[in-house]
């Protein structure tokens, strides 16, 4: 079946602009995660959704970052007033995460490469 998809695959923007990154999880997966990977680093957690609600947003670096998942499926990561330091690959992952069984394996999308000039 279809895996996690992310659009756009690449995004170039200017400092100060607003960007939206989209994630379409695997059908039926209730848990959705956003990570950010900078050059030479492993992915770093940003935010986790269980259904429509953000269960854990402790990884968001500041209030310029916001994410939504209004219908419990597609999610959008929004970055306001972008800065050059926001340049990174933004990865989305999803998992079944059936309640009571703990977190299951997370499956990642290809990522969106964001470059802020």
């Amino acid at each position: 079946g279809a895996g996690v998809s992310q659009t756009p695959s690449n995004k170039v923007t200017e400092k100060g602009k607003y960007v939206e990154l989209r994630c379409d999880p695997i059908s039926g997966h209730t848990a959705l995660y956003w990570y950010r990977q900078s050059l030479g680093q492993g992915p770093e957690f940003l935010i986790y959704f269980q259904g429509t609600g953000a269960a854990d947003d402790s990884g968001l670096p500041n209030d310029r970052f916001f994410a939504v998942r209004p219908e419990g499926s597609v999610s959008t990561l929004k970055i306001q007033r972008t800065e050059r330091g926001d340049s990174a690959v933004y990865l989305c992952a999803s998992s079944l995460n059936r309640r009571g069984l703990g977190t299951e394996t997370q499956y990642f999308g290809p990522g969106t490469r964001l470059l802020v000039l």
Binding site: V4, Q6, A31, Y33, Y35, G40, Q41, G42, P43, E44, F45, Y48, Q50, A55, D56, G59, L91, A93, N97, G102, T103, T105, Q106, Y107, F108, G109, P110, G111
Partner: protein, 116 residues
């Protein structure tokens, strides 16, 4: 301070030999560990996982060993193939202990090159 460490940025192995990738962690609450493989311009691909109640998990050519007392895990690939050349990430989570939603904590990765 990094909770998951992969101290070898790169590893080169001859085709057919064993590849051993190492990972250390500091958080004793971690109870679930995963290895992901990543090719350039692609997202990480799940490879194999292990729960803290086990010390070994095997899947084909891939075996993960967990040493809880040393807070160390390793991934063995036997025999190594050129197609295994990629960056390998170790990840950990607190799957069953309270407080965490199972967010993955990643190491910085080890780039494996398998030479024909």
């Amino acid at each position: 301070d990094q909770q998951v460490k992969q101290n070898s940025p790169s590893l080169s192995v001859q085709e057919g030999r064993i590849s051993i990738l190492n990972c250390d962690y500091t958080n004793s609450m971690f109870d679930y560990f995963l290895w992901y493989k990543k090719y350039p311009a692609e997202g990480p691909t799940f490879l194999i996982s292990i729960s803290s109640i086990k010390d070994k998990n095997e899947d084909g050519r891939f075996t993960v060993f967990l040493n809880k007392s040393a807070k160390h895990l390793s991934l063995h690939i036997v025999p190594s193939q050129p197609g295994d050349s990629a960056v390998y990430f170790c990840a950990a989570s607190e799957r069953f202990y309270g407080g965490s939603q199972g967010n993955l904590i990643f190491g910085k990765g080890t780039k494996l090159s398998v030479k024909p």
